[in-house]
């Protein structure tokens, strides 16, 4: 009981810090996801039209993904300096691949017979995109966004090393002062955030599945 009580006391004591950093964390993560969607979605649609170059673009984002996250933050510091932007750029880079790949897979996975029927019936290519391809690939898009979100919320913990704040700050302070309770007070909210986004987005994903495709 003592352990739990000590932890709780830390949380209460540092609640201002925790709340502040949680908001920072959320702001940073969401900005990164939002921008990553704005980049990946059109790019995914574009490469689904040019299947020859698709592997190339996906390959690039896959290479980004393989850079260890701490190293990526480090690489960016000499280029963009420290602060919010640096963390934002790193997180965007991480979120690109899941969204791009799922957009591409979703759109190219739409049954060609359906596209041919649409085309033969006289639908324009934008009508085919908005009325057929996007609605049918929406569950894939949402799954990509979900993966990217969970990933970003976790990786955003490292933003503290480039001076961008977030819950990483709380964890880092705890580590420096050998205060395990403070480490937990930073780590647990990160885990909770990731889990709850995963849950919420999974619900949305189910909702996004077109009615006719639900079993």
């Amino acid at each position: 009981m003592d352990v739990v009580q000590a932890f709780w006391e830390t949380v209460v004591q540092r609640q201002d810090l925790i709340i502040d950093r949680t908001l920072q964390h959320l702001y940073l993560s969401f900005s990164a996801i939002f921008i990553a969607i704005i980049i990946s979605l059109p790019l995914g649609i574009f490469i689904s039209r040019k299947q020859k170059v698709a592997e190339f673009y996906i390959g690039i984002t896959a290479v980004f993904q393989t850079i260890p996250s701490l190293a990526l933050f480090g690489f960016l510091v000499p280029i963009v300096g420290i602060g919010f932007e640096t963390a934002l750029i790193a997180l965007i880079i991480y979120a690109l691949l899941p969204i791009l790949r799922n957009t591409y897979t979703g759109i190219t996975g739409v049954d060609q017979a359906i596209i041919e029927a649409g085309k033969g019936m006289g639908m324009t290519s934008s009508q085919i995109l908005f009325k057929i391809e996007l609605p049918l690939s929406l569950p894939f898009l949402m799954a990509g966004i979900r993966t990217a979100t969970v990933l970003t919320v976790g990786v955003a913990t490292l933003a503290t090393f480039v001076g961008a704040g977030g819950l990483g700050d709380v964890i880092w302070r705890g580590l420096q002062s050998y205060n395990n309770n403070l480490v937990l007070a930073g780590a647990i909210p990160v885990a909770l955030l990731a889990l709850s986004f995963d849950f919420i987005l999974k619900l949305l994903e189910k909702k996004a599945t077109p009615k006719g495709l639900k079993q």
Binding site: D111, A113, I114, E116, A117, G118, K119, G120, M121, G122, M123, T124, Q127, K131, I132, P135, L136, P210, K211, G212, L213
Partner: protein, 323 residues
């Protein structure tokens, strides 16, 4: 209605799919394009709605060169039914069928009635099927929706690309019959691609036999069977069909005299008689209503033979004489 003037198509990879065809398709006719795979039948059809552009030559619809028409405009006035059905799985049956009228800018109240009419036409009760999704329907039902979806925009022309070949034999047979009946009421110009000669003989008013990007023969089903233009057409129709005239020998056409046996001396002349010009079907009907097992065949007031019920039954079952 649709005319091909020396149309050729060479694909980017150098394949000469169409090596110069001239073809005229009359208004209100159901024309089947048939041939072995790779003969260019589908390419020919897809050039009509510009899914494929001809390399040279000209295609006109009602005298107007389609090259000058906008793709989307052209296609909205040509119904399109494909083998893999291609219904939009995320839209209800109603939305699927109503899509073209909607794209054409019609109001929902206007085309809603039309959608119901069309569904009824192919035996799908609107109140049951309107709100269903394609995946909740059987293959045959889906393709019925596929057909009426093509009709919904009230196009004068409909293209059908092997529309029934993915269906099970029973549904296929039903849909072929329904198409024939439907065509009697709607009288559209239908271009029907198939590789199934029985299907072509059954549904088409005119059959275009193709091979290696050329037209081998254009004829009505009857002409085609009676006078195949060359060895290829003959072998493609199949010796069996030509010999037995199987399709034209359907109960509706086949004369009763073909299965008649000579009247025996001791035949009961009190039996009901049937005219020698009657078909198998008519005779079967008579036999049923009269409830007899034998009938006399009469020509110009004379008895020329008699019919046994069993013979008639086996002929109707397609088992051939004496089976």
């Amino acid at each position: 209605m649709i005319t091909f003037h020396n149309v050729k198509k060479t694909f980017d990879d150098g394949t000469e799919a169409i090596k110069g065809i001239d073809l005229h398709i009359d208004e209100g006719k159901l024309v089947a394009l048939i041939g072995p795979s790779g003969c260019g039948k589908t390419t020919t059809m897809k050039m009509i709605n510009k899914l494929i552009q001809p390399t040279s030559g000209k295609i006109t619809i009602e005298g107007k060169d389609i090259a000058h028409k906008k793709d989307v405009e052209l296609r909205r006035n040509i119904g399109y039914v494909i083998q893999r059905i291609g219904l939009f799985p995320h839209m209800t049956i109603e939305e699927n069928v109503g899509l073209i009228p909607k794209l054409k800018g019609r109001k929902k109240e206007e085309y809603k009635k039309k959608v119901d009419e069309l569904l009824t036409l192919v035996g799908l009760e609107p109140s049951v099927f309107r709100k269903r999704y394609p995946l909740e329907l059987s293959g045959g039902q889906q393709q019925r929706v596929g057909v009426v979806r093509a009709l919904a925009g009230e196009p004068p022309i409909i293209l059908m690309d092997e529309p029934f070949s993915a269906l099970d034999p029973i549904s296929r047979e039903q849909l072929q019959n329904e198409l024939k009946d439907l065509q009697k009421t709607i009288r559209k110009t239908i271009v029907f691609v198939t590789h199934d000669m029985d299907e072509a003989l059954k549904v088409a008013d005119e059959i275009v036999v193709m091979k290696d990007g050329r037209i081998e023969q254009i004829a009505t089903p009857k002409e085609l069977i009676e006078n195949p233009a060359n060895e290829f057409v003959r072998s493609f129709i199949g010796e069996e069909r030509i010999q037995s005239n199987l399709n034209l020998a359907s109960p509706e056409f086949k004369k009763i005299t073909s299965i008649m046996e000579p009247a025996k001396v001791d035949s009961d002349l009190n039996l009901p008689s049937v005219n020698a010009e009657s078909t198998l079907k008519e005779t079967a009907l008579l036999m049923l209503t009269q409830n007899v097992n034998q009938m006399l065949v009469e020509k110009d007031g004379k008895i020329i033979g008699m019919i046994q019920k069993n013979e008639l039954l086996s002929a109707l079952a397609g088992l051939g004489k004496g089976a």
